[in-house]
């Protein structure tokens, strides 16, 4: 069953008189119990896409076109009230941990309770407290945390609280937005392990957004690679990571220590992200692509299916051979 279907979605920001093409014509599906990793550099549009799915875009952003079917409903067309009804009940998001991700002057428990008050108003006070304790327990936090203020939590605890908050209403689909980025390595490992376990134990369908392809390889079964707002490559983890087809995917992997051949040197990708406020002709990655040809600069490559995956590149065949 398809939990999430993204169909030709474009999202734009209005900044002054200009428009930023943050997400451009992206399509892919997420099946039940999939854990999809959405990777890309900062500015690649992955967070915009995630927030788009959650309908949490800032006021200056809008859906240019496309539709997003989440659990069968097109959330792009949904009214704000309706969104509020489903979001956090059927699906939710784990925000990047930050000191201000929760109101600093309200207790953690009080803010977690909001999610229950809104989506399960029939529960009694006791039942709500019980549920909060349970979810905290899921992320291995003591129930004492209920009475604490956000600033009294360590970084790892705060991230666990954010996860617990996302899970409080037993959602079917969860997005982890850079859920481990701001943590130290040890904590990062712990949290990753926990996410992995939770996804398994709770039979979650999930999307993990990260710029760290290493994280993806640990917990995902599918990968979507984005660059400059466009989907470059999408497919099963082992295919995309171990047999990358798109030149950008390759370059991305080369910039991560975990995916280097012995003796190979880590390499950055030369050049900068293109200016997203300008209409783009050709492949977004072309200016930085070692394989780029004339056609890459004049026409936008359509995603093509290559086995189980989708790749948007004219040079797929050639790349495959190298």
């Amino acid at each position: 069953m398809k939990v999430l279907q993204i169909r030709s979605v474009s999202i734009r920001y209005v900044v002054g008189k200009k428009e930023v093409r943050a997400v451009e014509d992206v399509s892919f599906d997420v099946q039940e119990r999939d854990v999809v990793g959405l990777v890309g550099e900062s500015g690649s549009g992955k967070t915009t896409l995630a927030h788009g799915i959650m309908r949490l875009l800032p006021p200056n952003a809008y859906f240019k076109n496309g539709e997003i079917l989440l659990l069968g409903k097109n959330i792009v067309k949904m009214k704000e009230n309706e969104v509020r009804k489903y979001r956090w009940k059927d699906y939710s998001i784990v925000f990047q941990k930050s000191m201000n991700a929760l109101s600093p002057v309200h207790r953690v428990g009080e803010q977690m309770k909001e999610a229950l008050l809104i989506h399960q108003p029939n529960l009694s006070d006791e039942q709500m407290m019980k549920r909060i304790r349970e979810t905290l327990d899921l992320v291995r936090l003591p129930s004492r945390v209920i009475r604490l203020y956000p600033h009294e939590l360590s970084g790892g605890m705060m991230q666990r609280v954010m996860i617990a908050l996302a899970l409080i209403n037993n959602p079917k689909f969860v997005i982890f937005d850079e859920a481990t980025t701001a943590l130290d390595v040890v904590t990062q490992g712990q949290i990753l392990d926990e996410i992995k376990k939770l996804v398994k134990d709770l039979s979650l369908t999930a999307m993990v957004i990260t710029h760290d392809i290493g994280v993806v390889s640990e917990i995902c079964n599918k990968v979507a690679v984005m660059y400059a707002g466009r989907l470059m490559e999408f497919g099963p983890l082992d295919k995309v990571v171990y047999e990358p087809l798109h030149p950008y995917t390759k370059a991305l992997l080369k910039s991560h220590p975990d995916f280097l051949e012995p003796g190979e040197k880590m390499m950055g990708i030369p050049g900068n992200l293109p200016d997203l406020t300008l209409p783009m002709k050709g492949c977004a990655f072309a200016p930085r692509c070692p394989y780029a040809e004339k056609i890459c600069f004049s026409e936008t490559p359509k995603p093509v299916e290559v086995g189980e995956r989708v790749v948007a590149c004219f040079k797929v065949k050639e790349v495959e051979r190298t």
Binding site: M54, L56, R84, K85, R87, W88, K89, S92, I93, F95, S98, N100, A101, L102, S103, P104, V105, H106, Q111, E114, A115, I118, H119, R140, L141, P142, Y149, H151, E152, L153, S154, G156, M157, R160, M162, L165, V186, Q190
Partner: protein, 338 residues
């Protein structure tokens, strides 16, 4: 690794740490008051002129009068002796003696402190309530138009000299419209008693209090407004919106509580300065307050009265700041009283 208690929790907040905190703050306030007093003592005495010469005036300033008075008040003694004497008096709770009025400084101050506090406290409280409320109201409405009007008004009021506004208020509301009396605290033609007297007093309060309110309000409006805008962009707003907390509740329960904190701090400081904070307004409205007493003491070089006022003012400000810090700590769990 299990999540152990964070460091902040090792020392729970309890009565004894609170007492220690208060004592420490009081000691440091005492040091500050001492410094302020010393500096003021020497500035005042370094100034040209002395109370006795001024008392003698220029109509008939006889040298005998001046010398006799200097001797009587000990102004002929070395300055350092006067200083030590005054400071030791202060420690014993004696605020000094007014050379001009021949009365203890405290007696003179005590007669003026109530009218001043009635004026400044009501003015500041109204300014705080109205300024903050206006900011909340405007932000809540999300009307660009309303926001522009409120903010332009606040800019203009902020830029208005208080004495000028006071003069204009009298011109408009007393002289032209005849709604309110020009000055003073009571209608002296009638000797009202009881509730009528209270109403009469309120009637006299309207103009000075409104003037003070209008002058102080912009600060509260603008700080609160800026703070709300800042808070609306905070991440917790995104989190709570995502959860589904309705806008209304989000604003009323979360944003306001976060956004009001800076205004409370400023309110505390304003209250601290309230003893003499309205001197110019007191002059224009002939309000018998401390500000006027103080200006008078400055112009007459009434050394000990002035120092007494300064002492009280510094004390008032210190205490107001301590209380403000405690209140803020109660409202904002991030602040620890250390």
């Amino acid at each position: 690794m299990t999540a152990g208690p964070p460091a902040v929790f090792q020392g729970e907040w309890n009565v004894s740490t609170f007492t220690r905190y208060i004592i420490r703050r009081l000691i440091s306030a005492g040091v500050m008051v001492y410094i302020v007093m010393t500096v003021n003592f020497f500035i005042i005495h370094a100034a040209p002129g002395d109370p006795v010469t001024i008392m003698a005036g220029i109509e008939q300033p006889s040298k005998e009068i001046i010398e006799a008075l200097k001797k009587k008040y000990g102004l002929d003694k070395p300055l350092i002796y006067q200083y030590l004497k005054y400071m030791s008096n202060i420690i014993r709770g004696d605020l000094g003696y007014s050379y001009v009025y021949d009365q203890p400084s405290w007696t003179l101050i005590s007669e003026r402190i109530l009218p001043t506090l009635v004026l400044t406290l009501s003015g500041s409280i109204l300014a705080f309530v109205i300024g903050v409320y206006l900011a909340i109201f405007v932000s809540h409405l999300r009307l660009k138009f309303g926001e522009t009007i409120a903010s332009v008004i606040s800019y203009i009021l902020y830029a208005t000299p208080s004495f000028w506004l006071a003069l204009i208020m009298i011109l408009v509301f007393s002289s032209k419209l005849k709604w309110f009396p020009t000055s003073g605290m009571f209608d002296l033609r009638h000797t009202y008693v009881g509730f009528r007297r209270f109403l009469d007093f309120l009637h006299h309060m309207v103009l000075p209090v409104t003037t003070l309110m209008l002058i102080q309000m912009p600060v509260f409006y603008r700080v609160t407004r800026a703070s709300i805008v800042q808070n609306q962009n905070e991440e917790y707003v995104v989190t709570l919106t995502a959860i589904g907390v309705p806008k209304e509740k989000l604003f009323k329960k979360y944003i306001i509580k976060n956004a009001i904190l800076p205004s409370i701090t400023i309110f505390g400081i304003t209250l601290g300065f309230s003893i003499t904070g309205a001197a110019l307004i007191e002059i224009v409205f002939a309000w018998p307050g401390m500000g006027r007493l103080m200006l008078d003491a400055i112009f007459r070089r009434d050394y000990q009265l002035l120092l007494g006022i300064y002492f009280l003012m510094a004390l008032f400000i210190s205490i107001a700041m301590i209380i403000t810090d405690i209140v803020i700590a109660l409202l904002d769990p991030r602040i620890r009283l250390t």
